[in-house]
């Protein structure tokens, strides 16, 4: 039997499978399709200070082996979430990760403060948002801004923080280092790659927002490369890898590239119990490989 437990910034997960933010609602939607306690962890949909309506539809388009979305962080706001949704979710017997987002540093700090006294185990800071006070440049694409937001959230969170890196940068390892310098306890990557889709006959974009975030197997090679680059930067932080994981073997590949755990996102859109099934497949993979601990996979890439 392989020991499937992994440790992320001092928090023990039963196994390395985590559902990715924005693809798993507030977890309660999925009790019908799986035993939620079988997950290593689940990540809540991004929470912001104020309620957010999100972008107008059409918000989703299918591409070759991928999905483009432009939801725009629709959520009821952290206060309404804590009042109405959290009481139904907090009792689920697994690690709970809150994803926090904002338009300025103060927004992130507010959300982190409101959640710091709850049973949330880890924060994931979504830095793929435009910073409205600094010309709309994404927090995650400027090293100084990135370090700044991580430092401020770290001051108030009272729990380990994961920084979710955007792939829409030239050197992902530099961003990883900026997050580490700001006090990040772990890194997750990759968020979606910005893309667009066009209908040639009508000459219209498929998404009302024109551009959106690409996910699914189409992005997996890019994601693997970025996880590997961040792993090689030797920052001493645990890495959560994601990008098109559909099977247990996909999850193993991310761990081999350097991830300590993985997130399953788009796969849930196709199959609501995908995360549980991928966890089972990863366990079978690890047993077949004769591993004592699944964590032996991490960074085991054989380049000779």
């Amino acid at each position: 039997m392989t020991d499937m437990r992994v440790n992320i910034a001092g928090v023990e997960l039963k196994n390395p499978i985590i559902t990715a933010s924005g693809t798993f609602g507030f977890a309660e939607e999925y009790g019908l399709y799986m035993d939620l306690s079988k997950l290593g962890a689940f990540t809540l949909k991004a929470l912001t200070r104020e309620p957010r309506m999100g972008n107008p539809p059409i918000r989703i388009a299918e591409t070759a082996s991928g999905v483009l979305n432009s939801v725009g962080l629709q959520n009821p706001g952290v206060d309404e979430f804590l009042r109405t949704i959290w009481p139904r979710v907090k009792g689920i017997d697994t690690v709970k990760i809150a994803n926090i987002a904002g338009a300025c540093v103060e927004d992130y700090v507010y959300v982190a403060e409101r959640l710091s006294g709850t049973e949330i185990d880890l924060f994931e800071v979504n830095v793929s948002c435009p910073n409205v006070k600094h010309g709309g440049v994404n927090f995650g694409t400027d090293e100084k801004t990135l370090r700044g937001v991580v430092e401020e959230v770290k001051k108030v969170s009272g729990k380990p923080i994961i920084v979710k890196l955007t792939p829409n940068v030239t050197h992902i390892a530099d961003m990883a280092k900026a997050a580490a310098d700001g006090g990040a306890d772990a890194l997750s990557l990759i968020n979606t790659i910005t893309g667009m889709s066009i209908h040639a006959v009508t000459r219209r974009p498929l998404l009302a927002n024109v551009t959106g975030g690409l996910s699914g197997p189409a992005v997996k090679p890019v994601a693997l490369r970025m996880v590997w680059e961040v792993y090689r930067a030797n920052l001493g932080l645990p890495i959560i890898g994601m990008g098109g994981i559909m099977t247990g073997a996909d999850a193993a590949e991310f761990m081999i590239a350097g991830a300590d755990a993985v997130m399953v996102g788009t796969a849930t859109m196709r199959n609501p119990s995908a995360a549980e099934e991928i966890g089972f497949e990863l366990e079978q993979f690890a047993q077949k490989a004769g591993l004592n601990r699944v964590s032996e996979l991490t960074g085991s890439l054989n380049i000779e």
């Binding site: 924005g22 693809t23 798993f24 609602g25 939607e29 999925y30 019908l32 399709y33 949909k45 309506m53 999100g54 107008p56 539809p57 059409i58 918000r59 989703i60 388009a61 299918e62 070759a64 082996s65 991928g66 999905v67 979305n69 939801v71 629709q74 699914g216 197997p217 559909m246 788009t266 849930t268 859109m269 196709r270 199959n271 609501p272 119990s273």
Partner: protein
């Protein structure tokens, strides 16, 4: 525990009108217990892993005795064209029944069904759950080649049929016939409708105080409420068509009153 994720067998999959197919599937007791008219099935396209998203297809009819689910759909894109190639004996991965569906109270005796094109499909399902109502159907098709199941409706409802080009029955839009009936002082207890956006807009202008519920369509992701992509603006908020819909009160759908 409630179960909504099944592997079902295809019993038949036949062309019934231009680009329109009727697929019959096996179903479980679990499904039959949960099912309400107006709900949909979310189907994984078989042998096409590169098509990541399921296709939402409204439930056309449920045969409770034979334990069959009937789905009518248009084969218009790559996914639904692949679906149209599925044969009897094949299996499909299906989430069902999803969505809220139509709910009739005991007092809703006179029921008007108003459908346009493929939007006619879910309306037939009312009869299998509520056979004791007095139905009138207003069905609009593009042309003669597109007509399907008109005789099925004639079997349980007083049926008005229109085609856009007049190649079958009355020329015009079914909403115009409905308008004429209302003008002649016919009043139902409830109107249930499904069709394209322009069709809903024209309906919104004439229903007045009559309780009217519409089944909306939107590009959909998970179908289970997790991704928040399939939204429509209802009551000033973006609501999830898969979970909070697809059926909404027509008065709350903002875009019908722009």
């Amino acid at each position: 525990m409630i179960k909504k994720h099944f592997t079902e067998q295809v019993l038949s999959n036949d062309l019934i009108a231009q680009n329109t197919y009727l697929m019959k599937l096996t179903c479980t007791e679990d499904f039959l217990r949960l099912y309400r008219p107006g709900q949909f099935a979310h189907i994984e396209i078989p042998h096409a892993k590169e098509l990541l998203l399921r296709r939402p297809i409204s439930i056309n009819y449920v045969d409770f005795e034979k334990k069959e689910v009937h789905l009518a759909y248009n084969a218009i894109g790559r996914g639904t064209r692949l679906l149209s190639l599925v044969r009897a004996g094949d299996t499909l991965d299906v989430l069902m029944p999803l969505g809220n569906g139509f709910q009739l109270t005991d007092g809703m005796k006179k029921v008007w069904l108003v459908g346009g094109g493929i939007g006619i499909a879910p309306l037939k399902s009312l009869y299998c759950k509520y056979p004791d109502r007095e139905y009138t159907a207003f069905l609009g098709y593009r042309n003669r080649e597109c007509v399907y199941q008109a005789h099925d409706f004639e079997g349980f409802a007083k049926t008005h049929i229109t085609t856009d080009d007049g190649s079958y029955c009355t020329r015009g839009f079914c909403t115009d016939v409905l308008h004429a009936e209302l003008a002649a002082n016919e009043t139902p207890d409830v109107i249930l409708a499904c069709g394209p956006h322009v069709f809903f807009k024209s309906l919104a202008g004439v229903v007045g105080d009559i309780p009217t519920f519409v089944s909306l369509e939107q590009h959909m992701g998970c179908g289970t409420g997790g991704c928040a992509t399939c939204v429509c603006k209802v009551g000033g908020q973006y609501r999830k068509v898969c979970l909070q819909g697809p059926v909404f009160d027509i008065r709350e759908v903002d875009s019908f009153y722009d």
